[in-house]
């Protein structure tokens, strides 16, 4: 095929050559011109050197013409005077005539017809270097000598080629070859004299793969999420991003930028959206990931600077509030109305919080339920008729410790109102024993449960105080049924009359057993015994008169209120009593142990001699009951009783070291008619200026008392708003602190009301049981409490303090308000903040704050 055109050219050229030759030979020896060689064709842009020989003349000069144009033209090709033909850069005409003409005889010439052939293309670059399998790919071939009609061949297969220029061709290629195969690319210029270029190779790659990361993700509203798209098997890693098919997304479903940064919408559109990345290189390749939209983490940025107890309504601002968000204050729900994601209006009633601070919290529900950080707000009493400091002190004196609730109530109604409520409150109950073997452990638990939770706080405090005057002890009466009847007497008579209390105690089988008035027989000369003096002595020394004569202001006066003979006479007057008969049994001397009701008299066991007690005559021959009544009347009327009882009760409630005037005022209340009214006495004690809780408060630096362990424990727990299960096991703790509840070592109580500090002589009864061992027990108890690890169903809401603990100073201030009436000194505060701040662990911050506050002498001692 390729040679045939060449023959054709020759056959057409030959007759002409023959004609010209014959003409020349008809003359003289004609000039003869020959032309060598005779190529059949020349490729465009190539050079070809022709050689002409002129004979028979000396003039050898020739002219060179192309298609009769001397020297040729750019489109025909040019030829130099020496016969060097330069083919045109491309084939404009398939055939040219190269003519050489003698200058000597211009008739003499030779013509050679030559074909102009397309050049052999040269490929310098094929791009891209690689091609994805099955992907229709635009190929750009660069090089030179591309002829119009040139075709790009890929592995011998011609492609529909676009001729851009002699240096650039383009075509589309889709290959099915296996990845890794090298595709041979060349350019074939068309006929005339079609020829293949050099070969360049393209590598076949696997199809493009797009992978979006993260594959699935939760994104909170308004939050940003960076997505990445990995594009494999191409160097073109560009993708286009869309959300739910919308390129770049929009405000409703969230937007995504070219770099894949997604911004979630502010309001939940639907639970999920689709994020898609499409390969720009191969738009058929894409990856999609599902975004689960979650509610934002709400943030409160502004709320009222303070709230008040009771009803409140206010607005909060912030970010990320879900439409269905709820709101809590100190864990209690308040009614919240959603305005928009940055604003809510709130209303509801607020309980007085622990430590004077509450925390607001916005709770976004599912999807992605999330709570805001705690937003602390001080809560002030809605109504306060007295200062918090005075009210706290009053409740430390008059109750088992202030709770946030009891403090608020007192602030509302004042001391007199509070006392009236207390006098009317239903008494706490001790349950009946399960059986006779039940131990005092149960009574201890009932005691602490009542103290920590009962509404009749003052009655219980009074019963506890009276029980430390009229002491009985589990050391000798270790069973519940032995002890509980007398404890019920103390509760019943707490606001009664001291004389009635003396009567009930004297006839109590519990006391009778403990101090041996029970079964105390009249003297028996035959057997050589006399009445037991135990109850007679202790009722004078410890329950009514004491060892010294006293002035109405408690000053010791010369002389003693009673003699050994008075002890003996009182013992005689109190003979003849035995246990009450157990129901169903006949009463006899002596009845077996039975602790309910009052002891019963047997006249034949009662001493009926004439007696003289404290200088007053008790005529002989009377009944045991008559002697007892008169004897107790005589004792009760002794002027020592008022100051004796007053001092002891003041010490239990207010201060170890009352002034003479204070004792005198309380004595007056005791002595006023009707003498011995304990309701009047306790009112006088608690409302006295020296108690420091009302107008005209007098507070001396020696005022106050060390909190005895039982009171220390209850005050700490109530001040921390602890909740209590049915069996608070605090007795073992107070035992370590030196006060085993209901187990006073002897009738002299856990400590003596007359104890004075050895170093200074200052009266301080409770200090008698404070020593290095019990001091450590007290701080170790605080440590357990700070960790909320007291057990026994006691739960201290330490999490409330944790909600404030992000700020050490706020935390310490709340603990200050809870435990120190808000009066913590600056140096102490700074020291505790320092210790709290060493850790970011909120639990330990709270623990250290509570520990360091409650171990301080300013908390150990109530002043």
């Amino acid at each position: 095929m390729r040679h045939r055109p060449r023959f054709f050219v020759l056959s057409r050229l030959l007759p002409a050559l023959l004609v010209s030759f014959s003409i020349a030979s008809g003359q003289t020896t004609p000039v003869k011109i020959t032309l060598e060689p005779s190529p059949s064709g020349v490729r465009a842009s190539m050079k070809y050197d022709f050689n002409a020989t002129v004979a028979n003349t000396s003039n050898k000069a020739v002219k060179w013409l192309v298609n009769n144009v001397e020297g040729g033209t750019p489109t025909l090709g040019t030829i130099s005077t020496s016969g060097l033909y330069q083919a045109p850069p491309q084939v404009y005409t398939p055939r040219v005539l190269i003519q050489v003409k003698s200058v000597a005889d211009p008739t003499k010439f030779v013509v050679r017809g030559i074909s102009l052939w397309n050049p052999i293309a040269k490929v310098t670059d094929v791009s891209p270097d690689d091609i994805n399998q099955s992907l229709r790919t635009e190929i750009v071939v660069k090089g030179s000598l591309f002829a119009a009609g040139a075709k790009i061949y890929a592995d011998r297969v011609p492609l529909a080629t676009t001729f851009v220029s002699g240096t650039e061709l383009r075509a589309s290629l889709t290959t099915a070859l296996a990845p890794g195969t090298r595709v041979k690319v060349l350019v074939r210029n068309p006929d005339p004299e079609s020829a293949d270029s050099n070969i360049k190779e393209m590598v076949v790659l696997p199809p493009v793969v797009v992978t979006v990361t993260p594959a699935t993700v939760n994104v909170r509203l308004s939050a940003k999420q960076d997505f990445g798209a990995r594009v494999e098997n191409t160097s073109n890693r560009v993708v286009t991003w869309s959300v739910n098919g919308v390129k770049g997304g929009n405000a409703t479903i969230g937007t995504i930028d070219d770099a894949g940064l997604y911004t979630a919408p502010a309001v939940l559109p639907s639970p999920t959206v689709q994020i898609k990345a499409v390969s720009v290189h191969d738009p058929s390749k894409a990856d999609t990931t599902t975004v689960t939209l979650l509610h934002a983490i709400p943030v409160i940025t502004a709320a009222p600077p303070a709230l008040k107890t009771g009803p409140n309504s206010f607005a909060i601002t912030g970010t990320g509030f879900a439409k269905t968000a709820t709101l809590q204050f100190n864990g209690q729900p308040l009614s919240a109305v959603w305005v928009n994601s940055t604003r809510m209006t709130v209303s509801g009633s607020i309980k007085p919080p622990l430590g004077g601070y509450g925390t607001l919290r916005v709770l976004n529900p599912a999807p992605g339920p999330a709570n805001s950080a705690f937003y602390p707000i001080p809560v002030n009493p809605a109504k306060a008729v007295m200062t918090v400091e005075a009210a706290s002190r009053f409740l430390e004196q008059a109750s088992w410790g202030p709770t946030p609730g009891s403090l608020n109530r007192l602030l509302e109604i004042g001391r007199e109102g509070w006392l009236a409520e207390q006098f009317a409150a239903a008494p706490a109950a001790y349950p009946d024993p399960v059986d006779m073997g039940q131990s005092l452990n149960s009574l201890q638990k009932a005691f602490f449960r009542n103290a920590l939770t009962g509404p009749d706080q003052l009655r219980q405090r009074m019963a506890f105080a009276l029980g430390q005057i009229f002491v009985v002890s589990g050391v000798e009466l270790p069973q519940y049924w032995q002890m509980v009847p007398l404890q019920r007497v103390f509760l019943a008579q707490a606001f009664g009359n001291y004389r009635n209390l003396m009567q009930d105690v004297t006839l109590s089988p519990t006391m009778g057993d403990y101090l041996d008035m029970v079964n105390n027989d009249k003297p028996n000369p035959a057997k050589g015994y006399v009445p037991n003096e135990n109850y007679g002595r202790e009722t004078l020394q410890l329950f009514t008169l004491g060892l010294s004569n006293l002035s109405p202001t408690g000053a010791r006066l010369p002389g003693a209120p009673y003699t050994e003979e008075d002890v003996r006479q009182l013992a005689l007057a109190l003979t003849g009593w035995t246990y009450p008969p157990e129901p169903g049994f006949a009463s006899k001397w002596t009845n077996k142990r039975y602790y309910y009701g009052q002891m019963v008299a047997f006249q034949d066991r009662h001493d009926i001699s004439n007696k003289t007690l404290l200088g007053q005559f008790l005529p002989g021959g009377r009944s045991a009951q008559a002697d007892l009544d008169q004897a107790l009347d005589i004792v009760f009327q002794h002027p020592n009783v008022g100051p004796f009882v007053s001092l002891r009760l003041i010490q239990k409630f207010v201060t170890s070291n009352p002034s003479a005037e204070y004792i005198g005022r309380v004595t007056s209340a005791f002595n006023a008619s009707p003498r011995g009214d304990l309701k009047r006495v306790i009112t006088a004690i608690l409302l006295d200026p020296e108690a420091g809780t009302g107008p005209g408060a007098i507070l001396s630096s020696t005022q106050g008392h060390l909190r005895e362990p039982v009171l220390f424990a209850t005050t700490l727990l109530r001040s921390l708003d602890a909740t209590v299960g049915s069996e608070p096991g605090l007795a073992s703790q107070t035992e370590l602190m030196g006060q085993k509840l209901f187990f006073a070592p002897s009738v002299f109580n856990y400590f003596s009301p007359l104890y004075r500090l050895p170093s200074s002589g200052v009266p301080a009864p409770e200090f008698q049981i404070l020593n290095p061992t019990t001091a450590l027990a007290r701080i170790n108890f605080v440590f357990s409490a700070s960790k909320n690890q007291l057990g026994g169903g006691i739960d201290i809401p330490v999490e409330h303090f944790e909600s404030l603990a992000a700020s050490p100073s706020l935390l310490v201030e709340a603990v200050n308000r809870a435990l120190m009436r808000g009066t913590m000194k600056a140096d102490m505060k700074a020291e505790i903040i320092k210790a709290v701040s060493v850790t970011g662990d909120l639990k330990w911050r709270v623990r250290n704050a509570i520990y360091l506050t409650a171990t301080q002498s300013r908390f150990q001692v109530q002043q």
């Binding site: 135990n534 020394q541 630096s701 850790t839 520990y851």
Partner: protein
Amino acid sequence: MKKNRIDFAQSRREFLLKSGRLVSTIGAAATLAPFGAVNALAQSGDDYKAIICIFNFGGNDANNMIVPMGPNYAAYQRIRGSLALPEASLLSTPTSKGEAFGLHASLAPIHPLYAGKKLALIANVGMLVKPLTREQYRSGAIPAPNNLFSHSDQQQQWQNASPLTPATTGWAGRVADRVQGFNAPSNFPPAVAVNGNSLQLIGQETRPTTIGGEDFGIAGNDHTVISDARQASLQEMLKFDSGVVLFQTANRILSDAVAVSKQVEDATRGAAALTTAFPGTGLGRQLAQVARIIQVRQALGMKRQIFFVSQGGFDTHSAQLGMHAGLMTELSQAMLAFYNATAEMGIADKVVTFTESEFNRTFQPNGNVGSDHAWGTHTLVLGGGVLGGDMYGSFPTQALQGPSDSGDRGNWIPTMSLDQYGATMAQWFGVNPLDLGLVFPNLANFTKKTVGFLPGT
């Protein structure tokens, strides 16, 4: 107080320099006592001494602890009536004068130590201002102690040796004041109570401590950054001076507690347990604790230690016999175990254990098979160095309204003062005889200052 200690250490060094003697630390301590004077008897080689008071709270019925036998038993039996112990039950303790006495049967554990001459019996000791007869008492010619028969007052008087005026220091504390130089430079408290505060141990210069159970220490002190910060701040705030005595006192006690707990923790770390077993009674546990502290005396740097333990429940107004037998059992078992522990430590002859009780009980019973508050009592003294196997003092005449009875129920007027009883131990312990009157203000009223149951007294 600290200052005194430092001053004393200073003077001791000066003394050593002046005397120019080369002495070991132990020898130096032994040669020195406060103010340069010391009882020569304290100057032995391995110088350590301890006295341990066991206080029987409630008024021990000593009439049934030490009982006359032989010819004197009949009077006892007749008057004691329902409370009389059978003669056959008594454990014989004949005196050097040939008098027949017997111990309560429940004292069996320590009875052999009487024959072994480690246990001495002290007869009719009690609170006195001056020697006193029945007639002098009844006429009021010579003052008697205040508030006889009152538990609280008599407990205080036995501890402060001050029968007429209140005193806030105790006689053992005043002894500690005078022997504290032996312990220099240790600042560990010389007097230790185990079961609560004790007036007896409070000195004018020295301050006692209490070391309760084995878990004596600060909870949560695990030396993390958090606990270290907590403890540092606690101690820092204990230094804040409020100027308020109740705060100051509470702070001082807690400061002592922190310091002592650290010393005890350091001293007892790694100490091997004694092999002597103690009874699991209240008194047994207390004396076990005393033994543990004595065991680490060298780590604590102690040469003279005073301890106070107690046993309650002696106020036996009714149903006395069984209760008292139980109390005697607890007492004797604990005393024996403690004696054995001191023997195990090789210091039995350096440790003296003695009993106290605020008063005896009426010799005549009451109608409840019990007895009431009385006066002069009997006590026990036990130790390897005790001149035991004998009775000291004079036993009361067992007769109601007799010469020994202050009233009509057998309330014995003491014939030995607490002052003499305590001074005997104080002198043995190292108090200069010339200083005994500073410890026992009424000792001057008695001819014999000490009563001989310890060497050199």
